[in-house]
């Protein structure tokens, strides 16, 4: 028997070839949106394992990082859906009235905006993340959330309102007072 190292029986599948380049992208996508390392790791694992199943059942025309990010987006939405069920008991329904006044002067403070986003209820967070962070058009947001376009538009209106309210709470009633002293 030779002492030469045996070939590592690594499955010759495209996903492993893509893994090293795709992993930081998928993880970076998820981390920027859920902002928790442990959760981003869990969702990253779920994404790649789901990709194996998808490659077997329903392979895409081309295996790309963009395709994996699409799966990651599904996993993120699934996560928020699970959180929504947990939150439902005590969630305060905010934003039934639509506030039109933006609590920021000209531009959003990006850091504060991310923090505010993280404090919203899961459905609002999911809708705003897909619409604005991911830059998806409303029909695609609707598809991811499993809602009609009309219901998604209404959800986005409420989510924006909740976002404004929370943002205003954190900047105080007079936005100009805080805005200058950063």
């Amino acid at each position: 028997m030779s002492s030469r190292p045996a070939i590592v029986p690594e499955p010759g599948v495209d996903l492993l070839d893509l893994y090293d380049t795709a992993l930081p992208e998928v993880y970076g996508y998820l981390l920027a949106r859920c902002r928790q390392v442990a959760l981003a790791e869990d969702l990253t694992s779920e994404t790649f394992l789901a990709a194996v199943a998808a490659l077997r059942a329903n392979p895409p025309d081309e295996l790309t990082t963009a395709w994996l990010i699409g799966i990651a987006r599904h996993k993120l939405v699934d996560h928020w859906r699970r959180s929504e069920r947990d939150e439902r008991g005590f969630r305060v329904l905010v934003g039934e009235h639509v506030e039109c006044v933006d609590p920021w002067e000209n531009e959003l403070n990006a850091l504060l905006a991310k923090e505010v986003l993280g404090r919203l209820s899961s459905p609002h967070r999911a809708a705003l993340t897909l619409r604005y962070l991911d830059g998806l058009p409303v029909p695609e947001v609707a598809e991811h959330l499993g809602r009609t376009v009309h219901a998604t538009e209404a959800l986005l209106v409420r989510a924006r309102s909740a976002f404004r309210t929370s943002y205003a709470d954190r900047t105080g009633p007079k936005t100009e007072g805080r805005a200058g002293n950063r």
Binding site: M1, A6, I7, V8, E10, P11, A40, F48, A110
Partner: protein, 281 residues
């Protein structure tokens, strides 16, 4: 008016996760891929039909078939039915795979038989790529032909009705989970099989003259720099320590199992010197 929330747009910026996490996830993926579909090993999983270039049959070549019968029966639990010749045996009772023993061979090895959609067309491609091929013969299982690649590696082809590539069935206990094609010249091998089966190759993760083969089942790899071409099978077992013990008791030899990312594996030789690997996933 521009929606001010559009300022939230966040392009995907790569972030490296913890290296330990990255390595653990890679290992989990490899294991998932090797396991095939998962836990189901019952008889209700019908083997997915092979498609062009898949290995539909593997014949283990050995000097004496009766000695091989007792070895593989003891080590892998194989059972046998008579083959088409005195020196041939069919392994029975495997959940997904068709494997046989072929005695009377000076040198041990594996002869693989590839499923093809059109045997005549494949024969033309084999010859066009610099290999040799007999005229196809009608066999009970379909139109078949013996061939050899341009480095002299024998293989056979058989015509099988066109099938969609479905999910890979899990390799059951005692079945082949991986094949290593050891060849002299990997560039020639890649050229030949790209022409014949449209296989694709990617550099193995470990580097060197090693490649993953894309487009063939079971999962297979290519290793260069060998004097003679040999196809070495890796069999999956549920308890590798016990299997190694059985190898030694049955007159074979085995190295100590090593931890690999996908499970534990070791290199062995049977009681007549034919090499193989064992893996516990």
């Amino acid at each position: 008016m521009k929606d001010p929330l559009e300022a939230l747009y966040e392009p995907v910026l790569p972030v490296d996760p913890e290296p330990t996490f990255a390595a653990a996830l890679r290992a989990q993926l490899v294991q998932t891929l090797l396991r095939g579909r998962g836990e189901t090993m019952s008889n209700e999983t019908t083997a997915a039909p092979p498609v062009e270039g898949d290995i539909g049959y593997a014949s283990i070549w050995v000097p004496e078939v009766t000695r091989a019968e007792s070895f593989y029966g003891a080590v892998l639990g194989w059972q046998f039915a008579p083959g088409s010749i005195d020196e041939g045996r069919q392994v029975t009772g495997l959940p997904n795979q068709h494997i046989g023993l072929w005695g009377g061979q000076e040198r041990g090895g594996t002869l693989v038989s590839f499923a093809v959609e059109d045997a005549l067309e494949t024969v033309r491609r084999v010859r066009g790529a610099g290999g040799s091929a007999d005229e196809p013969n009608q066999e009970p299982y379909g139109l078949a032909a013996m061939c050899a690649d341009d480095q002299g590696m024998p293989f056979s082809i058989f015509q099988s009705p066109a099938a969609e590539r479905g999910p890979a069935p899990a390799a059951g206990n005692g079945e082949i989970v991986y094949l290593t094609f050891e060849v002299a010249d990997t560039a020639k091998f890649r050229d030949f099989f790209t022409i014949v089966f449209d296989w694709r190759f990617s550099q193995g993760h470990a580097g060197g003259d090693r490649f993953n083969i894309h487009g063939v089942r079971p999962l297979s790899g290519l290793a260069g720099g060998h004097r003679e071409t040999t196809i070495v099978p890796q069999y999956v077992v549920d308890d590798i320590d016990a299997a190694v013990e059985r190898v030694r008791v049955a007159g074979g030899s085995a190295n100590e199992p090593q931890q690999q990312p996908y499970g534990r594996s070791t290199e062995c030789a049977d009681n007549q010197g034919t090499r193989f690997y064992l893996a516990q996933l």
